[in-house]
Amino acid sequence: MADAKGASQKLVAPVEHKGRRGFLPIETNTFDRYFISVILWIGISFLWMRFLEQFLPLWVSTVLCLILAIVIIRKG
């Protein structure tokens, strides 16, 4: 470990993240796209319940999110 203080070292992120590049601004792998879809679905549902459910029932948002999810998983 003593030589770890040598001149050749640099500071890097402790994580790496590899995947493909779609329309999303970052590289994502399959799991990421599912993850993003679920996160968006939950978040949109919360907002929908707060602001839009008086006018449109919740299943509308669910359908919209499902479509969004398919797009993200396919093309993201």
Partner: protein
């Protein structure tokens, strides 16, 4: 020339001034705790002075000679040490795997591991209670109120942290070293214990320390998943808040005693902290 000397002097004054202030701020609460622990109950409400005028020993003697309290202390020691050992070993194995194999979904596993630490704990008391009393049940034995139960539980908080700490440090060990050892005929286990482990020792040390401190200090689950046998020192602390007047003096005494082991520990391993706490941000 002159202005440079002046600037230098000002720099020193600033440096020491800053640190004096920081040290005073750090010390005062701890010092006050010791002051309170040295006072009897009737003296507590005297006009505050920062001096220790007399030492009221019963605050210390009473808990320290109480067998129940001694058991709490021993429980805490066992639980913290075992948990820290377990976490350190598991984290070393896990990060070795994450860093040496291209496992599918490895970085997602890494993030999932960390999310384990994020939940607000209160909601998880009931499920943990049910799991420990219903699922882990062999005859009359349950995981509830056992040291083992807490040792296992604290992994939820400590393992994510440990994996994170160790991951980058593991990555920092050049894979060529492994290869060289393989060529020399070593098996994987020997490589891990003889080649890699010594190189990541500062990381192991810091993982061990932080896990130990956390396990020593945890309160909510220790209070709710134990009853008599496996109670820890922090639950003992809370018990001093009693109906007949919070026993501030004794509580402060117990708190003082409770930080001592951690303190001794910390002084010993001081020097590894700075080399180990990089969260793997250093790479050659």
């Amino acid at each position: 020339m002159k202005s440079s000397a002046l600037r230098k002097a000002l720099g020193w004054i600033g440096l020491y001034g800053l640190w004096t202030v920081m040290i005073v701020i750090t010390i005062v609460p701890i010092y006050w705790m010791i002051v309170v622990s040295a006072r009897s109950r009737v003296e507590l409400f005297d006009a505050p002075t920062l001096l220790i005028k007399s030492f009221y020993a019963p605050n210390y003697i009473k808990p320290l000679t109480d067998p129940v309290f001694q058991r709490y202390l021993i429980n805490s020691l066992i639980i913290a040490t075992s948990n820290a050992l377990l976490v350190t070993i598991l984290a070393m194995l896990a990060t070795y795997a994450l860093s040496r194999w291209r496992l599918p979904g490895a970085d997602n596993i890494f993030f999932w591991t960390i999310t384990q630490r994020m939940a607000p704990p209160a909601a998880f008391v009931l499920p943990m209670f049910l799991i420990y009393t219903r699922v882990f049940k062999i005859g009359d034995w349950t995981m509830f109120d056992t040291q083992f139960g807490l040792i296992l539980l604290y992994c939820v908080f400590n393992l994510p942290f440990a994996v994170w700490l160790m991951k980058g440090i593991m990555d920092g060990v050049p894979i060529e070293l492994d290869e060289a050892a393989f060529v020399d005929g070593a098996n994987r286990w020997t490589v891990l214990t003889r080649v890699v482990a010594p190189l990541v020792a500062p990381g192991l040390a810091i993982t061990f320390i932080l896990s130990w401190i956390f396990a020593w200090n945890e309160y909510l689950f220790a209070a709710n998943l134990t009853s008599v046998n496996a109670r820890t020192i922090t639950t003992g602390l809370a018990a001093f808040v009693s109906v007949t007047g919070t026993n501030w003096g004794e509580m402060a005494a117990v708190a003082t005693v409770a930080i001592l082991p951690a303190l001794i520990f910390l002084v010993f391993v001081q020097r590894y902290i700075v080399t180990g706490l990089t969260f793997g941000a250093v790479k050659e």
